[in-house]
Amino acid sequence: MKTAPWRVGVLFSKSGVTEITETEHLQGTLLAIEEINAAGGVGGRLVEPVVYDPEADSAMYRHMARDLLAEEEVNVIFGCSMSASRKAVLPIMERHNGLLFYPSMYEGFEYSENVVYTGATLNQNTFALADFLLQSYGKRIYITGSDYIYPRESNRVMRDLIEAKGGEVVAETYLPIDADPRATAGVIEDIQRHEPDAIFSTVIGRSARHFYTQYDAAGFDRHRNPIASLTMAETEIGAIGAERCDGHILAATYMHTLKDEATRRFVSAFQQAYGPQATTSIWSQTAYLQVHLFARALARTGSTDAGKISDAVLTETFAAPGDAVSFDAQTRHLFLTPRLGVARRDGLFDIEWEASTPVRPDPYLVMTRFEETWLSA
């Protein structure tokens, strides 16, 4: 049985409110698996993904995670994006002793020995953004978000930051997760009434695309009064239309326009696999790097046993696109480099600022000080 493949579960949505970003998760995952297999697999055995599509539905995430662990008998799942799906899957991972590789930025305040977290925590994206907005655009900030835990928590932290640094939150509004264009138009009108200097938006997925499209149609000067986001990245901007988005801001730990060698290779391989116009982003990059981290751990353990992979991967490093990544074993999250980009006319980002070194993950916001200045004025 030396040649039997290593079977791993993959659980991202190809439809539903987060179809674009989760498809990016999926593409990053499958690209990494292809690369590993092209190089001969791990210990002479190929990696075989068992791919399920939970259609952005939490109940389906739960059922499919159970199927993958109990029926398909995989031990490791790459999957989940929104916090609701991670929370739905978590008890299943613990009961069946599986290991979830979770690639999305999220709100933190979680620690499970059945999860490896490879997305940014709030101190790795939100904190520097507050300084940037206040210094570059003005003190009056409008906050809006989709109504669930990640936007609520990110907005709470952003409000505390803005207020600690002498800015003002002029309003804070929420939309349903799958808000229709009429609902997002209501927020646009509210923004017209408040005339903020900048907007911090944690609206996600399909609703965010309505929102950005309408913001353009309403005729705001995006370079003076941009929308800043932690999630609206290259590929979704391409779907909205790059010419409708220049000026907007992304705070994330990876951008397509990074200049390092690993990014160049990643972009080239990604476009070879998914077409010359395809863009990489924070969504595909984390999904991609976590599969490589897994493969390196697997090469050492020779087993997909959740406990063994978990122990081994926390001591792994990988020269990922944009960052040589390593774990903080105490929190099971990655050291990552915060970056700020302003969208250009071609839909990619000019990187306006980046931290000089990777920043320690702080999921419980234990070490991070709200008053601290990240950007010198």
Partner: protein, 209 residues
């Protein structure tokens, strides 16, 4: 800690000095590691120490294996926030939680998820309970003072044939003149009366006015 922003609740946990009183095993390690992760200062002890270290303000304690009388002796005049660690939901465990007046409970086997909730809730409830106790003590003191003043006013009225307002005003004037609290003057009058009465004597019932 007063009711306030989420940040304030977290900041309170960061200032906590926790002691985990539990047999040295995997559960204890899980708890100690997670409390560190949450940013608080934590140490562990077993068996139950003879006295709580001076700076400890929160204890996590395995209640089923320690008689309540021993815990109570160690707590003595100390008043930490208490989170009980229990294995069973048996009547014995329930009684231990109630006897201890625990502010929070966590169940074994320990899971990371849930510790933060119980920790934060226990700290809040403990602070709230302390504020209530202080308030009750103050109210009791005030109430006792009021009773004393009423009693003194009644004595003055009876012995000097004054009406209530005048008697009260005299008491007040004395307090002001001597720069003493009214309760103190009232206490002096009531004590003097009781001593005289105990000696079968009376204060002059006539008036100087």
């Amino acid at each position: 800690m007063r009711k306030g922003g989420a940040q304030r609740i977290l900041a309170d946990l960061r200032n906590a000095r926790a002691l985990v009183i539990h047999t040295p095993d995997e559960d204890r390690q899980t708890l100690v590691d997670h409390l560190k992760r949450l940013g608080c200062t934590v140490s562990a002890a077993w068996p139950l120490p003879a006295a709580l270290p001076a700076d400890v303000d929160t204890i996590f304690i395995q209640v089923e294996d320690i008689p309540y009388s021993q815990i109570s002796a160690v707590l003595d005049d100390r008043n930490p926030a208490i989170i009980a660690i229990v294995t069973y939901e048996s009547p014995t465990s329930l009684k231990a939680i109630v006897d201890l007046n625990a502010h929070g409970v966590i169940s074994k086997p320990l899971r990371h998820s849930g510790i933060l909730n119980q920790f934060a809730l226990a700290r809040y409830r403990h602070g709230f309970e302390n504020r209530l106790s202080t308030k009750v003590a103050k109210l009791e003191e005030t109430l006792k003072g009021r009773r004393l003043v009423d009693k003194a006013v009644k004595l003055l009225m009876r012995m000097n044939a004054l009406d209530e307002d005048v008697a009260y005003q005299r008491l007040r004037d004395q307090a002001t003149a001597r720069r003493m609290p009214m309760t103190h003057i009232a206490q002096t009058i009531v004590s003097a009366y009781e001593v005289m009465e105990g000696s079968n004597l009376t204060l002059n019932a006539g008036s100087h006015d």
